[in-house]
């Protein structure tokens, strides 16, 4: 779960990491006294909000309110801005980059740092980035030496840097982060180190340990929230074919096959290894509300029995009167039974994946 900037900064502040003075507002009227120049920053999870006009500046309350009024409601990369963060403008001497993330290969937490902050880290040449595993026993002083060496900080800033890195590591572990990124990490002209922007992603699977984040689930669309509640993987894409399959790999492969055949998936819905017809029904109801041009059901029955799926489909079609055309490909355990059940409700299921995919593409009008 990605946190909004203001929430990430609150969290960093809780761990003692210096962040700019600031306040969040979801309506311009909420903005009260301001006695310093501020940046008014759209609180969206998408990157590149600056270029999209999501960051403006103001010197007094009236200006701040009118900038906030311009930004709130703005759509940035498909995401509607619901609130702004008003934050003191820093007197910047240098911008650095610092992050912690999970590394698959070494199965460890990795510290990334660069003296070139304030830009996307992808655009920084690799030789200017420090990438180093944090020993599994925690932050160790040699990391500070590496940070200093890579960033070229003086003794006073290096000391702040070590303190900050230790706190960020503690936050990362204690809050089960997937990513904790400070970019830019600013050195002000008076020599203070401040997290000027903050990105934190919490590991979804660890949310059971962090009840305090449940109220932050604003980054999910209503359909995504429903899917989450039903434990169905739901991904919104750009096309018009709704795909329901069982298993992440099979679902991805189904998307690929549709694409190769000229179609485009609009919603991706993974039943996982269920053997509960009600979950299938829930998935169809979700799909109905996602309004694709056609639903492509692709099941390879193993743990998930094909007839179980068919019963779920039948219940959904009958109860919720789904009018969207359904193309079904069913294979595996009890596929004969499944085909019979689907036939009853007018769906002709095939066993061949490729021909079914072509049929779905055609039905989608591509």
């Amino acid at each position: 779960m990605k946190l909004f900037e203001y929430r990430a900064k609150q969290l960093m502040a809780e761990y003692g990491i210096p962040v700019p003075r600031g306040a969040v507002a979801s309506r311009p009227e909420e903005i009260a006294s301001i006695d310093y120049p501020v940046a008014v920053k759209a609180q969206v999870l998408a990157g590149g909000r600056g270029k999209a006009g999501g960051i403006k500046f103001a010197d007094n309350v009236a200006e701040a309110r009118s900038r906030a009024a311009e930004i709130i409601g703005m759509t940035i990369k498909g995401e509607k801005t619901k609130s702004v963060l008003l934050e003191e403008r820093l007197d910047v001497a240098r911008e650095l980059y610092l992050s912690l993330t999970i590394d698959r290969g070494s199965r460890s937490i990795v510290l990334m740092a660069s003296g070139d902050g304030g830009v996307e880290i992808e655009s920084v040449p690799e030789e200017r980035i420090l990438i180093v595993s944090v020993p599994l026993f925690g932050y160790s002083p040699f990391l500070t030496k590496l940070l200093k060496s890579r960033m070229g900080t003086d003794a006073a800033v290096t000391q702040q840097l070590e303190d900050l890195a230790l706190k960020l590591y503690k936050l990362f572990i204690s809050e089960d982060c997937e990513l904790a990124e400070i970019n830019p990490l600013v050195i002000t002209r008076d020599g203070r180190l401040i997290a000027a922007d903050a990105k934190i992603t919490i590991n979804d699977d660890a949310l059971f340990r962090h009840a305090e984040f449940s109220r932050d689930a604003d980054d999910l669309t209503p359909l995504e929230q429903r899917a989450k509640a039903e434990d169905i993987a739901f991904v919104q894409l750009e096309g018009n074919i709704g795909v329901i399959a069982n298993g992440a790999g099979l679902t991805m492969a189904t998307l690929d096959i549709l694409t190769i055949n000229g179609g485009r998936a609009g919603v991706f819905l993974d039943l996982g290894g269920t053997d509960d017809p009600e979950k299938v029904t829930a998935a169809f109801n979700l799909m109905k509300d996602a309004k694709p041009a056609v639903i492509f059901l692709n099941i390879f029955g193993g743990i998930t029995k094909c007839d179980t799926v068919a019963l779920g489909v039948k219940a959904a079609v009958q109860e919720s009167s789904i009018k969207i055309p359904i193309v079904a490909r069913i294979r595996g355990v009890n596929d004969d039974l499944a085909r019979d059940i689907l036939k009853d409700i007018g769906i002709e299921a095939t066993s061949d994946l490729i021909s079914a995919a072509k049929k779905a593409v055609a039905a989608g009008g591509n």
């Binding site: 199965r107 089960d176 390879f300």
Partner: protein, 288 residues
Amino acid sequence: MAVLVDGGTKVIVQGITGHQGQFHARSMREFGTRVVGGVTPGKGGSAVDGIPVFDTVLDAVSSTGANATCIFVPARFAKDAVFEAVSAGLKLIVVITEHIPFLDAMQFTTYAKLNGATVIGPNCPGVSSPGYGKIGIMPSKIFARGDVGVISRSGTLTYEIVNALTESGFGETTCVGIGGDPIIGSNFVEILSLLEADAETKRIVMVGEIGGTAEEEAATFISRHVSKPVYAYIAGRSAPPGKRMGHAGAIINRGKGTAESKIESLEKAGVKVAVLPTDVPGLMKKGR
């Protein structure tokens, strides 16, 4: 022979009295696996389908001589379950449980590695060696004994491909589902080296997907250390960046982990990469 699961494998099931544990213990046994015990705290002394249940893994191991375990316990208890298995000296630990926090997985995979135990998973379908047995949840019917070793990050997609292989007259030595999470106990490279060393395995199928660089590392390993023909399929060609595609590991982040990069690396290493999953048996027939 086969790898990981063979004639010497004696399995216990951690979480055997749960719905999944019970169902799959039975299915494993029907596939020929020596399921020698189960563990559920507080249920020691009882039995599930004639399989004795113990309170602790240590009790189960000392009573049965088990050397492998299949873990079905809920995500929040999985780390402790793996620690217990490692502590009791088990050397093959298959973790079926999904939705395990990354930090937990980092800890238990590390602890197992330190103690010389192999972890398969988490969030994986397990290991099947037709003729010897299986540990995990793969459907039994799709397999036939043969000379193909299969390694996959996926579940159902693997069944689809294995089924296609079997219907085309191929069979498997061992099929290993390594799991779709970012932090897993065994990667492609570890399993490739086992299959390369296995005399009965004559060819290898790798089922990869977007996310991470495990396929690229596998390609490097293949070009250096694998003499057997390798066939691959990579799922997620059409996935957009930044979207997690069902598996926690299947995400294209910061320009890394694209299907293109994986396919290119594998092809450079001499791997035949199928465009559609159903093309794999065809490619293999050409290769014969």
